[in-house]
């Protein structure tokens, strides 16, 4: 079993502190939902975990099975088993999803002769049409196609932990269900640990989190079971006490 442990994480953007001491521990096979209104620091957390250069970590640690990730380049964090499903996947003309998976597996020393079959099989499970495998990744894809292809890469690269940054934004009900179902299968088939960042409980109806955390002003202010999402649905974020527990 693997553990992703976030301890007292503080981070700033352009000198403004956005994350003010996050503590969170995720084990293999668990699904954690992180909910919060716009500006609470949700997306910042996802990019800080992945090591995006425009975020400055001022305190704390993030370890994957005891290995400190902070200070490592993004690609090393991915190689060690962390995967970020982006809220806004970037268009890369002329680079297909197969090219990406091949390049990533090569770095890991994994044989790449089966990539075509692997990508085709995952495309089948996720309902991704062939033309989206031939085109540059995300190039003129709809919101749903982007998220299906993000999930396809997640499945093909089989990391230990996945951060889903608003995977539910910009996609229709069918795509949401297909994507959530595939992620849920990975939690049981390959023990994937999941941090699902969202501000709607629509996703959680499909993904069935074990834990729900509420992020306000850079702190996790409440942690509970799935019932917390339902409470939030009733009260809104205004009803949540924003002092850290």
């Amino acid at each position: 079993m693997s553990t992703l442990a976030i301890k007292n994480l503080h981070a700033s953007v352009d000198g403004a502190e956005i994350l003010r001491g996050i503590d969170l521990e995720i084990n293999s096979g668990e699904v954690h939902a992180l909910m919060g209104p716009n500006g609470s620091g949700k997306s910042t957390l996802s990019h800080v975990l992945m090591g995006r250069s425009d975020y400055e970590v001022t305190q704390g640690s993030v370890t994957l099975d005891g290995v400190e990730l902070l200070g490592l380049p993004t690609w090393r964090r991915a190689e060690l088993g962390l995967f970020l499903v982006m809220q806004y996947p970037v268009e890369v003309p002329g680079v297909t999803v197969g090219d990406l998976v091949t390049a990533a597996l090569k770095v890991r020393g994994v044989a790449t002769n089966g990539v075509g079959d692997l990508v085709a099989a995952e495309a089948g499970r996720l309902g991704v049409r062939d033309e989206f495998l031939r085109r540059g990744v995300n190039n003129e894809f709809s919101g749903g196609e982007k998220k299906r292809v993000e999930t396809l890469q997640l499945a093909a690269l089989a990391p230990r932990f996945a951060v889903l940054d608003e995977i539910d934004s910009g996609l229709d009900v069918d795509a949401l269900r297909d994507v959530a179902r595939r992620v849920e299968e990975m939690t049981s088939e390959s023990d994937l640990g999941v941090l699902a960042i969202t501000h709607y409980d629509r996703l959680l109806g499909e993904l069935h989190p074990d834990w729900v955390h509420i992020l306000l002003n850079g702190h996790i202010v409440r942690t509970g079971g799935p019932e917390l999402a339902q409470e939030l649905e009733r009260t809104g974020y205004e009803g949540i006490n924003d002092s850290p527990k």
Binding site: A78, V90, G94, A103, A104, Q153
Partner: protein
Amino acid sequence: MTNPFSPAAARAISGPSWLVKRRVDAAEKLATTAWPSATEEIWRYSRVDDFDPERYHPDPRPTKPETAPGGGPFAAEVGARAGLVVIHNGHVVHRELDDALAAQGVWLGDIADAEEKARERLGTVTDSSSDAFTLLHDGFMTGGACLHVPEGVVIEKPVVVVHWSEGDGAAIFPHTLLIAEPGSEVTLVERAASASAAKGMLVDAVVELLVDDRAHVRYVGVQEHGPQTWQIALQRAHLGREATLRSSAVALGGEYARLRSESILLGEGAESDLLAVYFGDGDQMLDFRTLQEHRAPRTRSDLLFKGAVEDNARSVYSGLVHLLPDADKAKAYQTNRNLVLTEGASAESIPNLIIEANDVQCSHASTVGPIDEDQLYYLETRGIPPEDAERLIILGFFDDVFDRLPVPDLVGSLRRSVIDKLERCTA
């Protein structure tokens, strides 16, 4: 020193009398025309001020009757074909055409041997877009490829023209004349190269694409000239009613390689797509001037030029979309994207738009910059190190255009050239 490009020099080159007369007329006009300078807008940023005609000599004869029979691997790499013309130093040295097409009246051969009805359309584009270099071209052209597709004839496989030029100081004037009569369809692929060892060559080329009413033409022009070759080329298409042109240019070679690419939409409903990809390295300069000129209603044009520069290379893209008063309900789009891969390299991008018609749709976009940070980050989040990610993004940038070329067999060779350039890059 005597002028190597005088009317007397033009007269001295052999050929049929009509061609000699045409040459002399042009050379006489040239004698009273000043060479352009970089102070003129159309030559801004160019290297034209370094041009010295006395460095070159006209009509270098092929050293051997035919260095590569049938164009050799250079032609073979283009893939299956319906016909082939091989041009060595501006002289046609080989031609072949599918018998069935010849029986349908298709004519492929040397312009110098072309029949009257093709000959009378020779010079259509140079006459309407002339400058000192088209006069120089007309004054010293020794022939060239002529493809005449009669009304309604459809040619499935591409017709291939290969140009091979060599010789220190040689000035070569390749000419291509495509006449696609009403309702015909054809794909013409031209591949040009010059010897990498040749010192100081000049290739002054003209491509005329006459796309008559309802004709559909696909054209691919690839230049892989040697590092000491200057290319100054004009490619111009005249499109009739409901005619379509899908043109692609690939520019990889040359010391200074300039292409004027012009599409004139003369007939209602005509459509033109201009695509180009270029990659400069070392001290190369690649220079593009484009024109999408709409003269009729409901015409559509789309342009996508994508290029990269590395080392100390430079590129220029200057493009004009011009919608004349008759071009109601026209649509015109223009996009130029440049990747600047090293600090010493630079790219200029100047899109222009003149609208004199009503109810039109136009857009233009241009970008110049290094590899996109967001793309790099995206690839890194998949576990791809930055050096690998950069290479993938650059190759993808080119593949995005290569994948649209109507000659898939040639893509492997073009990709190898791109990879060679990337590997040569020192920065």
